[in-house]
């Protein structure tokens, strides 16, 4: 009963980018390779290529996130696309407009691509399955489900620093349970052949059956980061304190906060990553965040190239001649 992957077109090319789940290693490598070619564009006099000229990309953000929306906007503009930013928030839903109504209205404006962020897991899948056939959908974060472009920019950063994934040991620290970033990272790391993916967290911040995600589970930070090549710290939302998941930020930092001293357990050339924005003194101290191992700012600039790659690959499948090929 294997259904066709909604993300791929009939030629197996990337039509939507909703999740890492179900994509093959070759596809992820193609995204990384294409992104590699786009990194140069941002360093030129004219930071723009004419690839998506005349296309309209709609940033449809039901959750506010200036950072992520901006990187998608910059990526779209560097591809010469026209960008429509819509902060839908709760406004249209309070007016009684359903998500489907919103979609149909925007379709009528001849949008070619939706970049969607929504608080419901599965929102991007919903958009992709109801959108008109010529439209591509990119998931910019849906509920606790997936954030595939963030995961791919992290993979890009790791590959830049470490080369191959085989032989690498990567630890992800923090709130795995609620993190769409962690879910996508774990899938991407495993698909790309990473030797060992570890998650480090107390049980209240882990899903019921974490091993089913293909990871090794640690509850102790120093034990978990021993000899790893990459440490990925996750953002801890303040509201986790109120839901009886953690006693306090103080205790969390005592147990899971990354410090220079603790980082010594990792490999000497280990890199430290964080999807941002950092809570200094909660997930890590400033010495680590601003230290030589931190590649956090690189993640941001690579994010643009990765998003350019995904946008151009998915828009390329709208090609009319695709069937003739």
């Amino acid at each position: 009963m294997s259904k066709p992957n909604i993300q791929l077109d009939s030629h197996g090319r990337l039509k939507h980018f909703l999740t890492i789940d179900g994509l093959k290693r070759e596809m992820l490598t193609e995204i990384l390779d294409t992104a590699e070619s786009f990194t140069g564009v941002s360093e030129r006099v004219v930071k723009k290529v004419p690839l998506l000229r005349g296309k309209t990309i709609c940033n449809l953000f039901f959750e506010n996130s200036t950072r992520t929306r901006t990187t998608f906007e910059v990526a779209a503009k560097r591809l010469s696309a026209d960008v429509l930013n819509l902060n839908v928030g709760a406004s249209s839903t309070t007016k009684g407009e359903t998500l489907l109504d919103t979609l149909r209205n925007l379709e009528a404006m001849h949008v070619d691509m939706f970049v969607i962020r929504h608080s419901d897991s599965g929102a991007a899948h919903f958009f992709a399955s109801y959108a008109a056939p010529h439209i591509s959908v990119i998931n910019a974060g849906d509920g606790q489900h997936a954030h595939p472009t963030q995961a791919m920019l992290d993979m890009f950063t790791i590959r830049r620093h470490k080369g191959e994934f085989t032989g690498l040991r990567v630890a992800i620290v923090g709130d795995i349970l609620h993190s769409r970033v962690a879910r996508s990272q774990i899938l991407a790391l495993n698909t790309l052949g990473t030797s060992e993916v570890r998650v480090i967290a107390p049980r209240t911040l882990l899903p019921a059956d974490p091993r089913s995600l293909g990871v090794h589970v640690f509850h102790d930070l120093e034990e978990g980061i021993r000899d790893v090549d990459v440490v990925i710290m996750l953002r801890l939302q303040k509201e986790r304190m109120t839901g009886a998941l953690l006693p306090s930020e103080h205790e969390y930092f005592q147990l899971y906060g990354l410090t220079e001293k603790r980082l010594k357990a990792a490999k000497p050339d280990a890199i430290v990553m964080h999807p941002g924005p950092i809570n200094r003194g909660v997930e890590m101290d400033s010495q680590v965040a601003d230290g030589p191992r931190s590649v956090i700012l690189q993640q941001v600039s690579f994010g643009i190239a990765v998003r350019m790659a995904v946008m151009s690959m998915t828009m390329g499948t709208q090609a009319q001649g695709a069937a003739a090929r």
């Binding site: 259904k3 909604i6 789940d21 359903t98 998500l99 489907l100 929504h118 419901d120 897991s121 599965g122 929102a123 899948h125 919903f126 109801y130 849906d142 509920g143 606790q144 489900h145 997936a146 769409r180 879910r183 899903p207 019921a208 059956d209 974490p210 089913s212 995600l213």
Partner: protein, 439 residues
């Protein structure tokens, strides 16, 4: 002679009537809405109408312990008339209606209204279940005795939680005083905590907040303790977990008066069926693991679970057109109650007669109803089906408010050919050319 009114004979069918232990070729004679005789034709009987049931299985009309008809309150979705018509097509002749209508079934006036409208539609029997607390708010007891006298067959708080264990204790004690059965949907709402799917590998992968199995078992443990304490007859509604089924089995062994039902879909689907956010699998309780499904099947076979219900919940056409967590829960289940039950026989879960018992006399006995059996003198509610006919559930053939089912495209064996309710043919399939005389 023509003096006999409303007389029907059903000849040559294989009668399966589990309540009376019958599984044999038997003729059935019906008069004035009641079963007149089984087997031998009474001397003075003349049939106005004959159904040739050769090759068909004849069984009591199905009894469904939970079917929402959205009336009163949401007649724009479905009505008693539309849903009893669907029931008739599906071989179901008795439908129990949960109290979460609008207005809530918490006063005799609403019961009377519901029964009057059901009588007018008259394609199936509708039996209201009364609200255990006023407005289902979980605080103040409803007038259970008045509700019972008006026609409610049990009391339940539907999906709404009771405020606390003290209210639950009092409600069960009061119900026990007057011999009223309490129907409980066991769930600890704190453990449910905004969950949308079974807490397990699938919810972990899809990032859907999970509902742990413990949300059900913790509630069952509490309810069983109160059942023992109060002596109330408790019926557990819509079991979803193996742990809960095993706890109920133990309680039954200790002679507690507890029974349980399960929704037909819960015996076939698992968390895996959510796949890529299939909103038709957004259900309450959630679809659980394969191990849970198998444990429920075992409990059904042992008789720990005495009834399969449809848990029919028709929805507006767009109620499932949203991201998974934003969709309404529930599926339209009337049309698949019999086929999903017969599928259990195919899959070797239980025998045909036992399977039929779970959708006829099983549910009837739980609520002490005189239906689901074909004893002479009982209401002539019958379902006839062709056990060899293959068919596919097609979206286009479903009413618009009944398309919220994950079973579209499934193939089934066994299809209803005739349904009789109180001695009248309320459904006859187009392909069964048995129109000897018109009604």
């Amino acid at each position: 002679m023509s003096g006999m009114k409303n007389s029907i004979q059903i000849l040559g069918g294989r009668l399966i009537d589990p309540a009376n232990g019958i599984d044999a070729i038997r003729d059935i004679y019906i008069q004035n809405g009641r079963v007149l005789a089984i087997g031998e034709r009474p001397d003075d009987f003349t049939a106005q109408h004959t159904i040739d049931a050769a090759g068909l299985i004849v069984c009591p009309g199905l009894v469904d312990l939970s079917a929402r008809m959205r009336e009163p309150g949401q007649e724009h979705i479905t009505t008693i008339a539309s849903e009893t018509a669907v029931a008739a097509r599906s071989g179901i002749t008795t439908l129990c209606c949960p109290p979460d209508t609008d207005p809530v079934i918490d006063s005799p006036a609403v019961v009377t209204l519901l029964l009057r409208r059901a009588k007018r539609a008259a394609r199936a029997r509708v039996l209201p279940i009364g609200a255990m607390t006023q407005q289902l708010a979980g605080e103040h007891l409803s007038e259970m005795v008045a509700l019972k006298r008006a026609g409610c067959v049990a009391m339940s708080n539907a999906y709404a939680p009771l405020a606390n264990t003290l209210v639950e204790r009092r409600a069960l004690e009061y119900a026990a005083t007057f011999g009223i059965t309490a129907i409980l949907r066991p769930e600890d709402r704190h453990l449910r905590n905004n969950g949308y799917a079974h807490e397990g590998p699938v919810s972990a992968r899809l990032g859907l907040p999970g509902i742990p199995e413990a949300a059900e078992s913790v509630a069952v443990a509490r309810d069983l303790a109160l059942a023992e304490h109060t002596g109330c007859r408790i019926h557990f509604h819509l079991l979803s977990s193996g742990t809960a089924a095993r706890m109920i089995e133990q309680a039954q062994q200790q002679r507690l008066q507890v029974s349980a039902n399960v929704a037909a879909h819960q015996l076939h689907l698992t968390e895996m069926d959510i796949e890529e956010f299939n909103s038709n699998c957004h259900l309450n309780p959630p679809l659980r693991s394969l191990a849970d499904r198998d444990a429920l099947r075992l409990a059904l076979a042992k008789g720990v679970i005495g009834a399969i219900c449809s848990d029919h919940q028709p929805l507006k056409a767009d109620a499932k057109e949203a991201p998974f967590p934003s969709t309404a829960t529930g599926m339209a289940g009337l049309q698949t109650l019999l086929p999903l039950t017969l599928k259990l026989v195919d899959e070797g879960v239980l025998g045909l007669s036992e399977a039929i018992a779970r959708i006829t006399c099983g549910p009837a006995d739980i609520l002490d109803l005189p239906y689901g059996r074909l004893t002479p003198g009982s209401s002539a509610d019958l379902c006839l089906f062709d056990p060899n006919r293959h068919w596919e559930l097609k979206r286009d053939e479903l009413p618009s408010a009944g398309r919220n089912t994950p079973f579209i495209g499934w193939e089934f064996q066994g299809q209803v050919t005739h349904t009789l309710f109180e001695g009248r043919i309320v459904y006859q399939s187009a392909s069964s050319n048995q129109t000897a005389s018109s009604l």
